[in-house]
C-alpha cells in the first residue's frame, strides 16, 4: 500500500492539537510542492510573456512611482539610489499582499477538491502562499541587476535575505488562514482584505523615506510590523548591515504569532466551514 495519508481515521481525534496540525502539513509536503508547481506552470503556460508577467506589474509600478517621487518630488533616500529603495519596498509589499490574498482565497478556490477528496485544507493556503514566494524570488533578479548597475552592489548579507522572506511567508499565511476562515462565510471579506492591505502598504515606507514622516506619526510606522520586515530586508539586500535587535524580535514574534493563530483559528472553524462550502 503506497500511501502517506494516515490509514486510521477517528473523527473524535480530529479536534487535534496544534502540533499535529503541523505534522499533518509535513506529511503533505509533496502535495504542497506539486500545487506550487501547478500554480506557477498554469500561470505561465497561458501567456507568451510567461514569467515576465509577474515581474511586469511591480516593475511598472516602480517606474511610475520613480517618475513621480524620484523625479518630480525628488525624495531623498540618502546613500542609496531612490530606485533601489523604491523597488525593494514595492517588491516586498507586493509579495506580502499576494501571499495574503492567495492563501486567503485558496480554500474557496479549491472547494471543488475539498468537498470530494480528503486533504488537510491548510495545504492549499500554504501552497498558494508558496507560489507567491516563488514569484517574489524571481522578482529579486531585476532588483539585483539594478543594484549592480547602480553601483550599490550586493553585500554578503544577501545570504540572510531568506530570514525576513520566510518570516513574511509565515505572517502572510497566518493572516491568510484567518481571512480564509471568514471568506468561506462572507465573500466580501476578500475585498475588505484588499482594502486593508492597501492601507497597511501605505503605512509602510515603501516609496517614501522614513525621514519625511512627521514626528507625531512616526510611532504608527514603527508599530506596523511590516516595517520591521522591510527594514531588515532592505538592510540585508543592499545595506549590508543589521537592523536593530528590536526589529528582529518584532518580526519573528509577529510571524510566529500570526502563523499559530491562523492555523489554530482555521482548524477550529473547519468543521463549520466544510458544511457550507
Amino acid at each position: 500500500m503506497v500511501t502517506n495519508s494516515s490509514t486510521f481515521y477517528d473523527s473524535d481525534l480530529s479536534r487535534r492539537p496544534l502540533l499535529s496540525e503541523f505534522r499533518n502539513l509535513w506529511e503533505y509536503r509533496d502535495l504542497i510542492a506539486l500545487l506550487i508547481r501547478r500554480d506557477i506552470t498554469v500561470r505561465y503556460k497561458r501567456s507568451t510573456l510567461g514569467v515576465w508577467w509577474t515581474l511586469l506589474n511591480p516593475l511598472l509600478t516602480t517606474l511610475i512611482l520613480w517618475m513621480i517621487f524620484g523625479q518630480f518630488f525628488r525624495f531623498d533616500t540618502g546613500d542609496v539610489p531612490y530606485v533601489v529603495y523604491l523597488l525593494s519596498g514595492i517588491l516586498l509589499i507586493t509579495y506580502f499582499s499576494q501571499a495574503v490574498i492567495a492563501s486567503g482565497s485558496a480554500i474557496v478556490n479549491n472547494s471543488g477538491i475539498l468537498t470530494k477528496v480528503y486533504v488537510p485544507p491548510e495545504v492549499f493556503s500554504f501552497s498558494a502562499a508558496g507560489a507567491a514566494l516563488v514569484n517574489f524570488m524571481l522578482s529579486l533578479i531585476p532588483l539585483a541587476i539594478i543594484q549592480l548597475v547602480n553601483g550599490v552592489g550586493i553585500p554578503w548579507t544577501v545570504v540572510l535575505v531568506p530570514l525576513p522572506v520566510i518570516a513574511m511567508l509565515a505572517l502572510a499565511t497566518g493572516i491568510g488562514l484567518l481571512v480564509a476562515s471568514a471568506a468561506v462565510f462572507f465573500y466580501d471579506v476578500l475585498d475588505l482584505t484588499g482594502v486593508a492591505l492597501q492601507l497597511v502598504s501605505y503605512l509602510t515606507p515603501t516609496f517614501y523615506p522614513i525621514s519625511i514622516v512627521p514626528a507625531a506619526f512616526i510611532g504608527i510606522i514603527y508599530a506596523n510590523p511590516l516595517f520591521s520586515y522591510l527594514d531588515i530586508f532592505r538592510n540585508f539586500m543592499y545595506g549590508g548591515e543589521f537592523s536593530p535587535a528590536w526589529s528582529f524580535v518584532y518580526m519573528f514574534a509577529s510571524s510566529i504569532i500570526a502563523l499559530l493563530l491562523g492555523v489554530w483559528v482555521f482548524s477550529k472553524s473547519w468543521r463549520n466551514l466544510i458544511a457550507v462550502l
Partner: protein, 246 residues
C-alpha cells in the same frame, strides 16, 4: 468478533448550513446582527446513523434522491466531519466521488496523474513511477504529453478511474462512477473492482441501479431522509424498497 470493523459509524448526524438563510456578505451580516436577525437554518442530511461494516464486505446503499447517500460517502471518505457522533475508518480509503477532482486542463496527462494521485494521499514519486501503467490501463498512453483540456469527457473519466484505482485501498467507496465510459470500459472497471473485492477490500457501493446492488452486495442498507430504514440481505431490502416506491 475477532477482526475489527473497517468502517464504524456511531450515532452519526450531519447538518449542512443552508445558504438561503445565511448572510452572504459581511456587510449583510453586520446589518442583520444589529437587527438581531442572524439565524442559521440547518439541513440534516444524516440522522443518528449507526453502521458497522464487516471486513471484506460489499455494502450496498440505496435510497431515493436526497436520502443522504452522497453525504454518507463523504463522511466515510473523511471529507465531511460528522456534526454529531463518531466515525472510525481503519485502513486506507479510496472514495470515488466525482473522479478527477483536481484535474487541471492546462496540465498534461502525466502531470495530472501525479497531481491527482498525490491529492489522493500517495507519494508523488510512487505515482510518477506508475504513470506508464496508469496511462496504459486508461488507454491513453499516446496522450500523456497533451494538456488534458483537449481530452474528451470519456478520456477524463478513464484517466480519473485509472488513477483512483491504481492502488488497492482497504475501503473503497464508489457510486455511479461505474457507469462512465463505453461498454468495454465499464466492463474493465467493474472487473478491476471485483479484483479488489477478491483481494479483501471492503466496499461501500452507492447506486440507483438496484439490480447491480442486489447482484454484487453482501448486505444492503436503505437510506431515507438521512435515516437507516433497514439493513440486511440484498434481496429483502431491495424488494422492500421496490415495494414502497412503486
Amino acid at each position: 468478533m475477532s477482526v475489527s470493523a473497517p468502517v464504524e459509524l456511531t450515532g452519526v448526524s450531519l447538518a449542512y448550513r443552508l445558504s438561503r438563510s445565511r448572510p452572504a456578505t459581511l456587510k449583510e451580516f453586520a446589518i442583520r446582527s444589529l437587527r438581531r436577525q442572524v439565524e442559521y437554518e440547518r439541513l440534516w442530511a444524516l440522522r443518528d446513523l449507526t453502521l458497522r461494516m464487516n471486513p471484506g464486505e460489499v455494502l450496498g446503499v440505496i435510497g431515493p434522491n436526497g436520502a443522504g447517500k452522497s453525504t454518507l460517502m463523504k463522511i466515510i471518505a473523511r471529507v465531511l466531519p460528522p456534526t454529531e457522533g463518531r466515525v472510525v475508518v481503519r485502513g486506507s480509503v479510496a472514495a470515488m466521488i466525482e473522479l478527477g477532482a483536481g484535474f487541471n486542463g492546462e496540465l498534461t496527462g502525466e502531470e495530472n496523474i501525479v497531481l491527482y494521485g498525490t491529492l489522493l494521499g500517495r507519494d508523488a514519486d510512487a505515482v510518477e513511477q506508475r504513470i506508464p501503467e496508469i496511462a496504459e490501463w486508461a488507454g491513453l498512453s499516446d496522450f500523456m504529453d497533451v494538456p488534458i483540456r483537449s481530452y474528451s469527457s470519456g478520456m477524463l473519466a478513464r484517466l480519473g478511474f485509472a488513477v483512483a484505482t491504481d492502488v488497492k485501498p482497504d475501503v473503497l467507496v464508489v457510486d455511479e462512477v461505474l457507469s462512465v465510459g463505453d461498454a468495454e470500459f465499464q466492463h474493465k472497471s467493474r472487473r478491476r473492482i471485483e479484483e479488489m473485492i477478491d483481494a479483501g477490500t471492503s466496499v461501500v457501493l452507492v447506486s440507483h441501479d438496484l439490480d447491480l446492488v442486489e447482484d454484487v452486495a453482501d448486505r444492503v442498507m436503505l437510506l431515507e431522509n438521512g435515516r437507516n430504514k433497514g439493513i440486511g440481505p440484498p434481496g429483502e431490502i431491495v424488494q422492500a424498497y421496490r415495494d414502497s416506491h412503486t
